[in-house]
């Protein structure tokens, strides 16, 4: 029997969006309002947001020449016109306040000579608006928010608690089931409002910049609760993943003036984007790198078998690297023994950011397949698809989105509870007992499994890296769908082999892989369906963008036979799509 824990608001996920939402709830309710709980499968300050490096976009100095219109335009053009433009406008107008709010909460932003917040250039932005604190922006933002929350009493934290399902009944959120990893207890969090903020799904690829925890849990939770998910075929491959693991070398390295070089020593971006060069949007740079490699102008790492090009920072000099990019130097030296002051860094595109996610409106409220709001349910950050990023996110817009939407959602939740009141608690849904059976009598059944969960995970990652990477085409995608489906079939034979109660990470691995398989199927099928090239989705067999057929969002809903697809229009309120050139 699940232990029932009651709260008014639960936030699932403790990255930037989750912590920002929590801080807003606490500030808006002054500690006297609804009870808040933050639930995370990690300890609260460990979320993947800490790995964000280069910057957070905001128009801080309109008097010096930047403008909200320009930020909106850059974002929409960067999205290859798939972004919903009214959402983008709302987003850019709120970014500046967030930078200054974090500043007043202690964020150690790097400074200009005059003591004001400094900004650096970033890919696809036509003004230097990436606000930065050295090259550990996400880390310092997380620290600032985590520390800010320590000021408030009246919220509860459930660290290392793995949420396994959402209970959504009668068009409203009711609660969620979870396993407390510390004790192994099965619990039911009954609440009036829930914010899903669990990040993206980068771990379904092998060569990825994301933390091992970035397994798409929240997107999977919504999908399995019968809610639609949007634009999952748009995965961002960040151009500069460190060989051989894929961990991130910030775009700030190019923002500060770094070059990309092929094996002939050429700055090859000249061939593909002569005006913006290395500071083109990420999809453009990633494709250029893969073309160079395909045409034989890459290098090969003998140990890992991976092909790569080089990121050269040597001309920046020791002083600039030490002051502006110290973390990049630390990573290169610790993980591959290369000092970027002396030698170029080996890189290739790495799975980085999930542009798609849970369907939400421009206030972060989760929508069902008929575009109706689900009562009491929000999603924010990488988990959600607002959609601000469309087919390709610009660098430094993700941490900005987490902050802006964390705050918007936090405020909206408090408002919602004030008007919806605090009626009697629901009876515990029978779904809770079913979920307990699925896990403890099913996945944990004491029998020798016929399949190994880790073999399935490894195979999934291999398939995604091979067939659903930067360049895509019909035959490989068809293969990928077939292979992912075969893995889903095999997964039926998986059981958790560890019977321990406390910190049963093997069980957590099994639960995660189950969701990863669902999401991989949606990604691969979505990519197969979309017969055009747009932003991060590049089909060699359909190299042109096709606005007539495909200027629309892919919506996937779960059915027994697999995902069912429908399409939603793109909200175009400011600029009609034009050719995207850099």
């Amino acid at each position: 029997m699940a232990e029932v824990i009651d709260h008014d608001i639960i936030i699932v996920g403790s990255g930037l969006a989750g912590l920002r939402a929590a801080a807003e709830v606490m500030a808006a309710s002054q500690g006297k309002g609804p009870t808040l709980a933050i639930i995370s499968k990690l300890a609260l300050m460990r979320s993947h947001s800490v790995a964000a490096e280069g910057g957070t976009a905001a128009v801080l100095y309109p008097e010096e020449g930047d403008s909200l219109e320009l930020h909106a335009w850059d974002t929409i053009k960067g999205s290859d016109f798939l972004a919903d433009q009214d959402s983008v406008w709302k987003f850019v107008t709120l970014c500046p306040e967030e930078m200054r709010q974090l500043e007043r909460w202690g964020m150690p932003w790097s400074r200009r000579e005059d003591g004001r917040i400094a900004q650096r250039p970033f890919g696809g932005h036509s003004y230097d608006r990436a606000t930065f604190a050295q090259d550990k922006v996400g880390f310092f933002e997380m620290r600032t928010l985590y520390d800010k929350l320590q000021e408030y009493d009246g919220w509860s934290r459930y660290d290392e608690t793995f949420v396994t399902s959402l209970v959504v009944e009668g068009g409203a959120f009711r609660g969620c089931t979870a396993i407390d990893m510390k004790t192994g207890r099965f619990v039911y969090f009954r609440a009036r409002a829930c914010v899903i903020a669990t990040g993206g799904a980068g771990q379904i690829w092998k060569f990825t910049a994301t933390s091992v925890s970035t397994t798409g849990d929240g997107i999977g939770l919504a999908y399995r609760a019968g809610l639609p998910i949007e634009d999952m075929e748009f995965m961002q491959f960040h151009p500069t993943g460190l060989i051989p693991t894929g961990i991130l070398i910030t775009e700030g390295a190019r923002g500060e003036g770094g070059y990309l070089l092929n094996s002939k020593g050429e700055r090859f971006m000249e061939r593909y984007a002569p005006s913006k060069m290395e500071l083109s949007p990420r999809d453009v740079v990633s494709r250029s790198i893969m073309r160079e490699i395909a045409e034989g102008r890459g290098f090969k790492d003998e140990d890992s078998g991976l092909s790569y090009v080089r990121l050269d920072l040597r001309h920046l000099g020791r002083e600039k690297i030490d002051s502006k990019l110290p973390f990049i130097k630390e990573l290169s030296m610790k993980f591959v023994g290369i000092d970027p002051v002396e030698d170029p860094i080996p890189i290739k595109p790495t799975a980085h950011y999930t542009m798609g996610g849970v369907c939400v409106n421009d206030s972060g409220r989760v929508l069902d397949a008929d575009s109706r709001q689900v009562k009491g349910l929000w999603a924010a950050g990488e988990t959600a698809c607002v959609s601000i990023h469309g087919a390709n996110r610009l660098g430094s817009n993700s941490t900005a989105e987490c902050l802006v939407y964390g705050r918007l959602v936090g405020r909206d939740v408090v408002r919602y509870l004030a008007s919806e009141g605090t009626g009697p608690r629901d009876v515990v849904s029978p779904q809770v007992a079913k979920e307990e059976t699925r896990i403890f009598d099913g996945l944990m059944k004491k029998e020798t499994p016929s399949e190994d969960v880790y073999a399935i995970k490894a195979k999934l990652k291999e398939v995604m890296d091979r067939s659903v990477y930067v360049f895509r085409e019909e035959a490989a995608l068809t293969d990928a769908v077939r292979e992912v489906r075969a893995l889903k079939e095999r997964f039926k034979g998986v059981r958790a082999t560890d019977a321990g109660r406390q910190f049963n990470y093997n069980l957590q691995d099994v639960l995660e892989v189950d969701v990863m398989l669902d999401l991989a199927e949606v990604v691969a099928l979505g990519a197969l369906n979309r017969r055009e090239s747009r932003g991060g989705h590049s089909r060699v067999d359909y190299p042109q963008r096709d606005d007539k057929a495909w200027l629309r969002h892919t919506i996937a809903s779960r059915a027994e036979s697999g995902p069912q697809f429908s399409f939603w229009p793109v909200r175009i309120t400011m600029w009609k799509p034009v050719e995207r050139k850099y």
């Binding site: 500030a27 990690l42 300890a43 460990r46 993947h48 800490v50 790995a51 309109p62 008097e63 020449g65 403008s67 219109e69 320009l70 909106a72 335009w73 406008w89 930078m99 200054r100 500043e103 007043r104 909460w105 202690g106 150690p108 790097s110 400074r111 005059d114 003591g115 004001r116 003004y127 050295q134 550990k136 880390f139 310092f140 620290r143 520390d147 320590q150 510390k182 933390s211 091992v212 961990i247 140990d303 973390f327 630390e330 993980f335 591959v336 880790y454 082999t497 560890d498 321990g500 406390q502 910190f503 049963n504 990470y505 093997n506 691995d509 175009i572 309120t573 400011m574 600029w575 009609k576």
Partner: protein
């Protein structure tokens, strides 16, 4: 080196050895992952980012607290790698320890900006003016990833579990050194207590093991100086940095880079 032996102290009791094939660049975390995925699914350890920034994978490796993700097996110089949970913390399972007491200490030193006028801090559209050299006075102490290595290495914590510990004192000092902060007096009081800054024996092990060069031992010394300033010099707290007056948003100047179309809401379609 073709193969290595990973010897893990499991749940504080027995040592279990796992043989693994060595590959170039292998970290201790890589080895642990391989054990769980290929040999023993019950092995419990924490990890997440793989790049030394989330603070999850602190453990005792070859007798020294380190992050498993950034410890290359080859640098340890031995074919047998001994791994134990962090000392000074209660073991829950295998390499997973209870970090709650450590987190409580962090919270207890009020690790956030304190202002006389909190509403200005929480509700304003402006920013504080801070110079780069002022940021430089506290930035190093802000590198803390809360991995707990310093806490585990501290000989004083081992004897006095109520001692604030190097991490918390360094964080208290980080905020005291921040020009925006006005909580100096409150924090001096928190530090100038029996289990506060004076408990430190200056062993320096915290700074030795810190994977992020925070140098908590230095922060403790600097924090002591602050306490002494209060005690002997009767130093008064100073006012925090002022807010910048923002220039009101004005229409873009001529020659400003503008989008290729006029921005008029609803114009398209």
């Amino acid at each position: 080196m073709d193969k290595i032996t990973l010897e893990v102290l499991r749940s504080g009791k027995k040592r279990t050895s796992y043989e693994l094939k060595y590959r170039k660049g292998m970290t201790v975390l890589d080895a642990l992952v391989e054990v769980r995925e290929k040999q023993d699914s019950s092995l419990a350890y924490r990890h997440s980012c793989r790049m030394g920034i989330c603070g999850s994978c602190g453990m005792n490796i070859q007798g020294v607290p380190r992050l498993a993700c950034q410890t290359q097996v080859s640098t340890l110089g031995k074919e047998t790698v001994k791994v134990e949970p962090l000392h000074g913390m209660r073991v829950i399972r295998d390499l997973v320890v209870d970090i709650d007491p450590f987190l409580t200490m962090h919270t207890s030193v009020k690790p956030y900006l304190i202002r006389e006028n909190p509403s200005e801090r929480d509700n304003s559209d402006r920013e504080y003016r801070v110079l780069s050299e002022e940021v430089g006075r506290f930035l190093q102490f802000d590198f803390c990833i809360m991995c707990g290595l310093c806490y585990s290495a501290c000989p004083t914590i081992a004897l006095d579990p109520d001692y604030l510990g190097p991490q918390a004192i360094a964080q208290a000092y980080r905020y005291m050194a921040d020009p925006r902060d006005e909580g100096w007096e409150e924090r001096v009081e928190l530090l100038d207590r029996p289990h506060g800054v004076w408990r430190c024996h200056v062993a320096g092990s915290c700074s030795f093991v810190c994977p992020k060069d925070v140098d908590p031992a230095k922060a403790i010394q600097l924090a002591r100086v602050e306490v002494l300033k209060k005690r002997f010099l009767r130093k008064k707290p100073r006012a925090g940095s002022p807010l910048v007056s923002l220039v009101p948003v004005v229409a873009p100047k001529q020659g400003t880079k503008a989008p290729p179309f006029d921005f008029r809401k609803g114009e398209a379609k």
